[in-house]
Amino acid sequence: MISVKGLSVKIGSFSLKDINLDIPEGGYFMVVGPTGAGKTIILESIAGLQRFRSGEIWISGKDVTSLPPEQRQIGYVPQDYALFPFLNVRDNITFGLRRMGNNKQQNKERMESLAHILGIHHLLERSVRKLSGGEKQRVAIARALAISPKVLLLDEPMGSLDVRTAKYLRLELKRYHEELGITTIHVTHNLIEAEEMAERMAILNMGRVEQVGTPDEVFFYPQSPFVADFIGTPNILDCDYCNDLGHGLMEAVCGGVPIILPHYEAPVRKLALLPRDVYVTTRTPPGPGINRFKGTVMEIAPFSSLMKLTIRVGEISLLAELPQDIFEEMDIKIGQEVHLILKLRSLRVH
């Protein structure tokens, strides 16, 4: 178990205020928040790289607050990885092992097994300067894991990767975690990454923890306006009952509106839908009529380059967003009847 107790840090005009986090042994915990929220400072405090005013850090039942980083047994993967450019891949991975003074054979075995799990065996003799972003990430993780740390700290591990590599490596990272069972704290500004990977997550804003919970809890029960805004202010629909339609489909009736979903095992109690995934049109759309409804425009509010429309459908009201130009082209007015299409793929179920 990793515990951060009452951590407060002040750096210039920025401060981290009274952070409390508990991460169970073997858990995958994520710290999510916009740039400048103080995410990296939390990791640095856990690693012993940041002095702080007050608070305690506990690792596996031991107070490490006054220990230097080299005595904390922490695997740290900073943003951009900081691989040692003067060493090749193999020597980067064994850098910490050599310090530990195990015998050479043991070190070699440890390095080989990590290289195998991470799939970087073929890179061992390469210079780190010539690696791709994804390869660098795996080498940095191997280097951190080599010392058998009690916790793995990942700072924006996908930050410098292209979208496709990042998507693939998210799955890989989860696989390593399952295989090695190491307690992991992963910092990101990317909400999709957090939803996909986190067992539990903390939403951080301006040095404060706004909410801690599972991704579902955060999504369906945002506890502050900031969290709701950060996750995109979804429409949350309370569902009354469900019908199985067969063919892998089901129908959830929410406020009198029947919504078709892929089959879901537990009864659906709530649905979440982001405003940008509600399409609005004035003309009857072509194609099959799944998840299409008629509604009445109740409210129109401009929001930067978007228009936010509140639309009444049956007993529920849905928030939809459309780009300004499309809105103007369709010439929508309050009280007008419009057609809605709900983007099936982006429905979240609770």
Binding site: E44, A47, G48, L49, P68, P69, E70, R72, I74, G75, Y76, P78, Q79, D80, A82, F84, P85, F86, F95, G96, R99, M100, R143, A144, I147, P149
Partner: protein, 270 residues
């Protein structure tokens, strides 16, 4: 749009003429000076002067003193530059300014200040009890050291400034103490910068004249470093000897710059 673009290109021409003209002027100035040096002497005289006792002595003395001064300077400059690069303390600007004084100050003034220091009671205690500096070889080393140490610190500081602290932080988490990280992470990362600083410092020490001549004097075959040899031989109108020494110093400078280009991968000069 188009007309404006053409207009701009036309407007660039006088500017290019001025800047490239200045460049051509200064390069040809240097080349002409070197050619005139070469024209002044022939290879046979040059060679016989080079192997003369006096010049061989000056070469050996200069290499010895400059190397000693550079080693001493680097031993102090490496930790000091690291401290000034990383530390945050009140009055850091003042310390920074003090370090820059020897770079801006005339070397003669530095030499004179040292000479004055050895005339104080503390200074003469050092002279009598520890080691003689005034008009002696250790004085050359001290004079060169005082002039080049600031340069060494300045160069090394910019090297350390350019090293991302993340490397050191990762080193710490991998089990190394602060000083172990310095030796195993920081110095390897700073390697090229340290070599470059060492070479520049050494080249500067080789050419040091003002402070050396003021503190250690210009005694033939005693405190006669290469720049002092130029001075003495010009004073006695032995121009061939002076020219020979100038060629040695040009060769040293060229060698230093070639090494520098190698270690810095040319980036420094682009």
């Amino acid at each position: 749009m188009n007309r404006k673009k053409t207009h701009l290109i036309q407007g660039e021409r006088p500017f290019k003429i001025v800047t490239y003209g200045a460049l051509a002027l200064i390069v040809s100035f240097f080349v002409i000076i070197l050619i005139s040096l070469a024209a002044y002497t022939d290879t046979r005289t040059l060679f016989s002067v080079l192997v003369s006792r006096e010049i061989l002595f000056a070469v050996r003395l200069t290499i010895f003193t400059a190397t000693a001064a550079t080693i001493l300077a680097m031993i102090i400059a490496i930790p000091a530059a690291y401290a000034i690069s990383h530390a945050k303390f009140p009055g850091k600007d003042v310390v920074d300014t003090i370090l820059d004084v020897p770079i801006v100050l005339s070397p003669v003034a530095i030499g004179a200040a040292l000479l004055v220091f050895f005339n104080t009671s503390v200074g003469s205690a050092v002279e009598n009890g520890l080691m003689r500096f005034v008009f002696e070889v250790p004085g050359i080393i001290l004079a060169q050291f005082t002039v080049v140490i600031a340069l060494a610190i300045r160069l090394l500081k910019s090297t350390f400034d350019g090293i991302d602290q993340r490397y050191e932080q990762v080193g710490r988490t991998l089990g190394y103490s602060k000083s172990q990280v310095f030796l195993r992470v920081t110095l390897p990362l700073a390697k090229n910068g340290v070599i470059a600083a060492g070479v520049l410092t050494w080249a500067r020490a080789i050419g040091e004249f003002g402070a050396t001549v003021t503190l250690a004097g210009a005694t033939k075959m005693k405190t006669e470093t290469l720049p002092v040899a130029i001075f003495l031989n010009l004073a006695t109108a032995e121009v061939e000897k002076a020219v020979a020494v100038i060629f040695i110093l040009v060769a040293v400078a060229a060698g230093a710059l070639i090494i520098l280009r190698k270690v810095t991968g040319q980036r420094r000069f682009e």
